[in-house]
Amino acid sequence: MMAAVEVSEAEKVYILHGIRDDLRVDGRGCEDYRHMEIETDVVSNTDGSAKVTLGHTVVLVGIKTEIGKPRPMVPNEGYLEFFVDCSANATPEFEGRGGEELGTELSNTLYRVFNNKHSIDLKRLCISPGEHCWVLYVDVLLLQCDGNLYDAMSIAIKAALFNTKIPKVFISSDDEGGKDIELSDDPYDCMRLNVENVPCIVTLCKVGHRHIVDATLQEKACSVASLIMSVTHKGTVTCTRKVGGGSLDPESIFEMTEAGKRVGKALHAPLMKLLEQEESLGKKQQKVGFFG
């Protein structure tokens, strides 16, 4: 289902032996990520956006905020909607139904990753219970695909959520008891989201008897199964999922969850630091770029 590359038997043996000795084709260790670049505020007509480049994988996330009606079962919360678009430019396999299927699979996983009370404080997105709330439309666009889509996507989402500015609203009652919603005119008068608890996904690929993080497409072709884990900065796990056509024995699952927690937990601090840096830079840039 996922974009795949053809890898010859000889290449497979080479990759397998390397990983056995903690040496990957590109020189990394088993738990090392590739070089990663993060940019925020990259799409102008969104309320928050980010672009993440991880090796040759490039993911763009745009977040649009809109006022909607709360879900009947949770009238005092807003909600998130995910949509993943697998652009046919990223890899030819995304053309037609292949991309569509992968897109729904990825967005379904995102719903699970955020299906808990702490990732995002949904109550803050409520404007008036039962009537109005903010809906965050998270659109993910895969621009280029070289493995490890899940991790790159989750980091980009966290960065974009960090970057998201939700306009302040005022509720005024008119004479007849009806309610009016007014948006603040001041672009700086906006609400920001606390993204501290937003999890990042770590994908662990079982290759031979070991597991690796941030697998390239070649490495993925040598693996029978992977484990996807979304981990918060505190090390709690909000979603796990086994993907791929193979099975794993319980002991290696336990090893993988342990490694996933460790790697995932460690991702957050540098990421937040980077985002805050970017934010302070971004403001200066913005002043130059726009009306000043």
Partner: protein, 274 residues
């Protein structure tokens, strides 16, 4: 949304009566015994009723009932794959389609397959595929069709068990049977094989250890073919949960074998001549 022209249409808007109930039903209490009398923090799964080979048209079929959860699975094929590529020449395909009957949940569902059903279909596929000897079925596909007749919790876990029985009934070669078990963690305590009320119980807000877990397990080979969790759990809880689910699967194994042996020794499958 475009109007559905292929079904008899009702009014444009209709609402479930449960939205207008005067007093909300009591939540599930996180302590004490469970509503159906089972014990907490024990691998106390519901009694299961299973039958194979009920559907005359299918190659293999299975029906499972756990508490009020009712599932029917049919296996068709191997049949010729319509659009083939190179890998299909070496290896067959396993396709899964899981659907909820419109009346299977407390709220009426739509006929059109939603993203949740697609998600379940994918997870079912990922849990079953490692167990099926697909290389024995080149150029063809094996279709697993699952229908949830009533959802009373742990649907995915029972769907996995049900589908593997249907595959075995169809005589599809498999490396092992696949058994499924679910668990719901709520703070420090957990319930195995949760009902839908227990699944939807969101518990006290401050709790950081709250989530659901489903494991698909190959009992003879001691392999996990499917793992899926959501909510928030510490890594220790997750690991403990996986172990509990494996235990739950082993509890199911004798019954599953019993059902299969009855199905194999049915008149149609009499022992071969010596």
């Amino acid at each position: 949304m475009p109007t559905d022209t292929k079904r008899v249409r009702g009014p444009d808007v209709s609402q479930s009566p449960s939205l207008f109930v005067c007093q909300p039903a009591d939540g599930v209490s996180p302590q004490g015994p469970r509503a159906d009398g089972r014990r907490r923090d024990q691998v106390d799964v519901r009694p299961v009723f299973v039958r194979c080979g009920l559907v005359s048209q299918a190659k293999g079929s299975a029906y499972i009932e756990a508490g009020n959860t009712k599932l029917m699975c049919c296996v068709y094929g191997p049949r010729e794959t319509e659009r083939k590529d190179e890998t299909d020449m070496k290896c067959g395909r396993l396709t899964t389609d899981m659907r909820f009957a419109p009346f299977s949940c407390p709220e009426r569902g739509s006929w059109i397959q939603g993203s949740q059903e697609k998600d379940f279909s994918t997870m079912l596929q990922e849990s079953l595929q490692p167990a099926v000897c697909l290389h024995k079925y080149p150029r063809s596909q094996i279709e697993v069709n699952m229908m949830v007749l009533e959802n009373s919790g742990s649907v995915l876990a029972h769907a996995i068990t049900c589908a593997s029985l249907a595959l075995a009934d169809a005589g599809i070669e498999m490396y092992d049977l696949v058994l499924g078990c679910s668990l719901r963690q709520n703070g420090a305590s957990y319930v195995a094989d949760p009902t839908s009320a227990e699944e939807n119980d969101r518990g006290p807000d401050q709790s950081r250890n709250q989530g659901s877990l489903t494991v698909a397990f190959l009992p003879s080979l001691n392999q996990i073919s499917g793992l899926q969790s959501d909510g928030e759990m510490s890594e220790d809880t997750l690991t403990a949960g996986v172990r509990t689910c494996i235990e739950g699967c082993y509890k199911l194994y004798p019954l599953v074998q019993q059902v299969l042996s009855r199905c194999v020794s049915r008149a149609a499958c009499a022992p071969p001549p010596r």
